[in-house]
């Protein structure tokens, strides 16, 4: 049985937030008497993550995804509840715990700006107590996996965003952590760079059995990497489970566009009991429920003269968009 590597129980976090009225009067008032109020950004959440799992945290901006990630890696103290990551209380930031984890933030960088990435790698290696030989070996292995070579010797400021992100990953993984916290790692990257990064993460997970917790606004990151998602809505978990189950639940119907050989065939299909969305000459769009999709498709193919057929999957972004605004989902 695979053991739990992350265990979160009744976790809550509140921040003191100051608010300001608009205009000069508001600014002066804000300067002399700042009004703060306590805002509960995470509300009594519980979940477990198993070793080797890749879990996607989904939610709108400000839903609390990053706060959860930062509490998991020990950057922020929780207000209530308990967290155990790899058997450690994260906020104590014990040396052995820190050697086990890494945090990668798409919008922030740790590489030394004026120097080639290789300098930052060796600096990190010395911080993680790796000898030169071991560091060299790991840099070689990871750079091969990430497909970077010459970039290692070019100053960071001269690298493209994609090359920089790959170097950031290498810097963050040089100590071979077991748990990766990734906060929007593909932010701002082009399509190819995003794909390469996803490919790398899949490979890293497969080779090292590392646990990955990921937040991203790019649905492709979530659908290609995560089997399980945790949806966060206003600090609460609105769904925790398999991604494909959620997609099926939220999109119970598929659409197929059938191009019949003649208009006569299209009329015959229109009157055969299927739910028709629209019909233009010999082209007819039909809605079919997911659970009867295969049998319905067989019926159409066997009983009608068909020239062509297109299956329209509803866009994942659209479905996920529905999750972000809803409080809870029972599957």
């Amino acid at each position: 049985m695979v053991k739990n590597i992350i265990d979160v129980r009744n976790l809550s976090k509140s921040f003191d937030i100051s608010s300001k009225e608009p205009g000069l009067k508001g600014t002066i008032k804000h300067f002399f008497r700042r009004q703060t109020k306590s805002l509960k950004v995470i509300k009594d959440i519980s979940f477990e993550i198993k070793e080797g799992e890749i879990v996607g945290f989904l939610g709108a901006n400000g839903a609390g995804k990053t706060t959860i990630l930062k509490m998991l890696c020990g950057l922020i103290y929780p207000s209530e509840g308990s967290i155990l990551v790899s058997g450690y209380l994260p906020f104590r930031r014990k040396e052995n715990f820190l050697k086990n984890i890494t945090l990668i933030m798409g919008q922030k960088q740790q590489l030394i700006w004026d120097l080639p990435p290789i300098e930052s790698f060796y600096l990190n290696a010395s911080i993680y107590d790796l000898d030169k030989f071991e560091a060299k070996k790991r840099i070689k292995k990871l750079s091969e996996m990430l497909e970077i070579d010459e970039e290692l010797f070019i100053p960071v400021r001269k690298l493209s965003l994609g090359q920089r992100m790959k170097s950031e990953l290498l810097a963050a993984l040089i100590h071979e952590p077991n748990i990766l916290f990734l906060d929007e790692p593909t932010l701002g990257l082009d399509i190819n760079a995003q794909r390469n990064l996803r490919k790398f993460l899949q490979k890293y997970n497969k080779e090292t059995n590392a646990t990955i917790c990921l937040t991203s606004h790019y649905m492709k990151d979530i659908t290609s990497l995560c089997k399980r998602v945790i949806c966060v809505h206003e600090g609460e978990i609105s769904y925790d489970g398999k991604l494909d189950l959620l997609l099926k639940k939220l999109s119970p119907v598929k659409e197929i566009l059938v191009v019949c050989c003649s208009e006569k065939d299209a009329i015959k299909l229109e009157n055969s009991g299927f739910t028709v969305k629209n019909k233009i000459k010999n082209e007819i769009t039909i809605k079919i429920e997911n659970n009867s999709f295969t049998s319905s498709l067989k019926t159409i193919l066997n009983n009608f003269d068909i020239k062509d057929l297109y299956i329209n999957e509803p866009p994942v972004d659209e479905i996920i968009g529905k999750i972000l605004v809803k409080k809870s989902y029972d599957i």
Binding site: K70, E95, L98, I101, Q110, D114
Partner: protein, 264 residues
């Protein structure tokens, strides 16, 4: 604490920050020229004060130059280590990159206090030592073991007090986010360290000894150099330095509990 590891990491810090700074040759050149001009300007200013007075607060010009020498060394240390590192704390907190520091298996105070160096500050340190050497010849100071020990102790204590002051202000960034003004005020106060404490009025002497102990930083080591020191003052400086160093540690650990990290 694994000292070998920390030494290795510090060697890497030196290497990377030197390499970073050497990327900008002109900047280093300007810094070096500024350091030389600043010292010349300070000595010129001091000489103006002494144009019509043989002594100020009991200190003659040649003796006051010792204070200037010590100040230059300490200013060099500030520019080499404190300024590039501790002002970086403000940036780390504003931009949320302190996250990377806190997640490294290394002491965060060590990391943020020593990661960078500004090599042009070295020149100031060298110039300060040269000035001290000249003063020692002019003032005919005898070098013996007790002189060396006491001057070393008082200088180290001065560095710790200075570090404590800087670090304390920079740490408050965790709550106030922007503290540049406070740093500038501190820098302005530090200029006072170029003059003997006795040249100020009683009230100011109390202020610069108790509230912002600038007086300890330069005056006490200078008294050791001139052989006019009082033991209780040295002991007091050691006590103040210890308190500053320990408080900076406690204050940092306390402040980290309030660190909320920048939002993404």
């Amino acid at each position: 604490m694994n000292l070998r590891k920390y030494l290795k990491v510090y060697t890497k810090f030196l290497h990377t920050s030197l390499a970073s700074e050497l990327e900008y040759k002109t900047n280093i050149l300007i810094d070096l020229i500024t350091a030389i001009l600043s010292l010349i300007g300070s000595i010129f200013l001091l000489s103006i004060f002494y144009q019509n007075n043989k002594s100020i607060g009991g200190w003659e010009f040649e003796e006051a130059l010792i204070i200037q020498g010590i100040y230059t060394i300490l200013n060099g240390i500030t520019n080499t280590w404190f300024n590039p590192n501790l002002t970086e704390i403000v940036k780390h907190i504003r931009e949320g990159t302190l996250d990377f520091v806190l997640l490294k298996p290394i002491d965060s105070q060590f990391f943020i206090s020593l990661k960078k160096i500004n090599p042009s500050g070295f020149l100031e340190i060298i110039l300060g030592f040269c000035l001290l050497l000249i003063c020692m010849i002019i003032n005919q100071i005898n070098i013996n073991l007790s002189f060396l020990c006491l001057s070393l102790i008082t200088m180290i204590c001065s560095i710790f007090i200075l570090y404590g002051l800087w670090f304390f202000i920079c740490t408050t960034t965790i709550w106030f986010v922007k503290t540049w003004n406070a740093i500038e005020v501190l820098r302005s106060f530090l200029y006072i360290g170029r003059f003997p404490l006795d040249s100020f009025s009683f009230t100011l002497r109390i202020f610069f000894s108790v509230f912002i102990p600038i007086a300890f930083i330069t005056t006490i080591p200078s008294e050791v150099f001139l052989g006019v020191y009082q033991l209780w003052k040295i002991l007091l400086e050691v006590a103040v330095a210890t308190v500053f160093l320990m408080t900076s540690r406690k204050f940092w650990l306390f402040a980290l509990k309030s660190y909320s990290s920048a939002s993404s």
